[in-house]
C-alpha cells in the first residue's frame, strides 16, 4: 500500500512547492489534489496549469494519488435546481479531465446530500441517474469515480449494504466506493465496509474518530490516527482479507495548532505502523 495526503493539509502560507517538499520529506509517496479547495487548483485552472502541477509533483519525487473536491457540498448532484445540478456534473467532468492530465485514475465525489428540503428518495434517484452518465464518461477516460461515504454529513447511504445497492443500481464498473474509515461513527464498523465492498473500493481515506465525546457525550470528533475509537487492527486485517493494496490517503480534519509540519511526520509514521500491521 502507498501513502498519500491531501494538498489541503498544506499550511495556508506555505505554498504548493514548499508543501510538496514537506510531504516528500515526511515519507509520503503521493499527494491528493483537492479541486476548488486550494488556490493552485481551481475550476478555472487551465489544462496547461494542471500539467505544470503534475510536473512540480513529479519533480518533488511524488505522484498524484487521486483528485478530490469539496465543491459538491455547495453544488450537489442531488440539487433540485437544474442549474446547480449542471454545475455539479461539470465539477465531476473536470475532475475526470484533470485526473487524466495528472496521471491518476481515481476521483472522489460526494454523491448526494439529504436535507430537510431535498428528501432521501429524490437524492437517491437523482444521484443514480447522474452517476450512470458520469460513469460512462469516466470509463472512457480510464478513471474511476469513488463515491465517498460521508455518512453523518450526507445523511445518505448509511449502511454498507445500502451503499452496495446504490452501486448496483448505478451498474458501472467505473463507479465505486471511496471509503473513509473515519466517517462511519456509530452507523457501523469500517472493517465491515472493507469486507463487504472489497474490490469496489477505489481509494481509502484515513482518520480516526472519537465517539461520544463532549460534555454531554453527544458528539463525535475527528482526530489523528490511533487517538480515536476506530479498531485499527480489525481495519488492517480486513484490508489483508480483501487484498487491498491501493492508496491510503490521510485526511486529518483536526490540525495541529502549532508546528503544523509535525503533523505530516506523525501521520506518515502512523500510516507506516498501520501498514506494518504491528499493534
Amino acid at each position: 500500500m502507498k501513502k498519500s495526503i491531501g494538498d489541503n493539509m498544506i499550511p495556508k502560507d506555505w505554498g504548493f512547492d514548499r508543501g510538496l517538499d514537506l510531504i516528500k520529506k515526511a515519507g509520503f509517496d503521493g499527494i491528493e489534489l483537492w479541486l476548488g479547495d486550494v488556490p493552485w487548483f481551481q475550476m478555472s485552472t487551465t489544462d496547461a496549469q494542471v500539467r505544470d502541477l503534475r510536473r512540480r509533483v513529479e519533480s518533488a519525487g511524488l505522484v498524484v494519488s487521486n483528485v478530490s473536491t469539496g465543491l459538491h457540498w455547495a453544488s450537489p448532484l442531488s440539487a433540485r435546481d437544474p442549474a446547480v445540478r449542471t454545475q455539479a456534473s461539470r465539477i465531476v467532468e473536470r475532475q475526470i479531465e484533470t485526473a487524466t492530465l495528472l496521471g491518476t485514475d481515481a476521483i472522489l465525489v460526494v454523491a448526494g446530500l439529504v436535507t430537510e428540503e431535498v428528501p432521501y428518495n429524490e437524492v437517491y434517484q437523482r444521484c443514480v441517474d447522474a452517476l450512470k452518465q458520469l460513469g460512462e464518461k469516466a470509463a472512457r477516460a480510464g478513471v474511476k469515480i469513488g463515491c465517498e461515504n460521508c455518512n453523518s454529513e450526507q445523511r445518505f447511504l448509511l449502511s454498507p449494504r445500502e451503499f452496495g445497492q446504490f452501486l448496483s443500481d448505478i451498474n458501472s464498473p467505473a463507479v465505486g466506493l471511496h471509503l473513509d474509515v473515519g466517517n462511519i461513527h456509530d452507523t457501523g464498523f469500517a472493517e465491515q465496509w472493507i469486507e463487504i465492498h472489497g474490490p469496489k473500493i477505489t481509494r481509502i481515506h484515513l482518520k480516526d474518530v472519537l465517539k461520544h465525546r463532549g460534555r454531554c457525550g453527544d458528539q463525535s470528533v475527528y482526530t489523528n490516527l490511533f487517538l480515536g475509537d476506530n479498531n485499527w487492527p480489525a481495519i488492517r486485517s480486513a484490508l489483508t482479507k480483501v487484498g487491498y493494496d491501493g492508496w491510503l490517503i490521510a485526511e486529518m480534519e483536526a490540525r495541529y495548532r502549532y508546528a503544523p509540519d509535525q503533523q505530516f511526520f506523525d501521520t506518515a509514521q502512523g500510516m507506516d505502523r498501520l501498514i506494518s500491521g504491528r499493534f
Partner: protein, 223 residues
Amino acid sequence: MGMTRREFLSYGVAAGAMRAGVPLSPPLRASPTCCWIVSPVPGQCSLPESARGYRAALPPRGAMAPAGEPCSLLIIPALVCFDRHLVVWIDRALQRGATVIVESGAAFAADSSFRDHRRALRQGLQLDVHAPVDLWAERSGRIPYIDYSWPHRTRVRDFSRVVPVGKQRGEVIAWQGDVPVALKRRVGQGTLIYLGSPLGPALWAGDAEARRWLHAIALNDRV
C-alpha cells in the same frame, strides 16, 4: 423553438420504459378507453426527472398512445417555453375531451425564461400565473407541503419553489399554505390542469400520494 409540428410530435413519447420509482402504491390497471401521452417539450431539460416520474407512475406499455394520436390524458411535464404548435396540440386534445396536465418547470428558470413562460401561458392558454416563490427562503422548521383538494384530498412534498396561479376562471385545486398553486378548468369537452408545483419529481422518487393523485386522474376520463 424552430421546429415543425411533425418534428415536435415526433418527440412525443409513445412508450414508457423507465421503472425508476419504488412501487409504493398498487400498479395502475388501464381501462381500454384510457390512454396517455407524456411529452416533454424538446430542447428544454429543466427537470428531466419529471417526465421520467410520470412515465414510471403510469403503466409502461399498452395504454400509452402514439404521440399525436387522440388520448384521454396528455401530460406536458416541466414546461418552460413553448410555441403555438404546442398550443394547437393542447387545444385539439381538450376539444376531443382529454384531460391535459401542464406542469410548470419555470420555477427555477431565469427571469427572462419565466417572463416568456408567463406570456405564453396567458396568450396561448389564457392562464395567469405569478412570479415563482422560494418556499425555503425562510427556514421556519416546517415542511411546505402542497395540499391538493381535488380529485381527492392529499398532500405531496413541495419542490422548493412554486409558480402561484392568479385569480381567474377555473377552480383552484392545490394550495401551499394560502398560496394557490394549481388550477383546473373546463375547456371544450376536456379539462385543463395547470400545476405550479412540479409533481413529476415526487412521482420519480416513488411518492405514494403523488401516484394516487395521478392515478385518480388517469383512470377517470371525465374529470
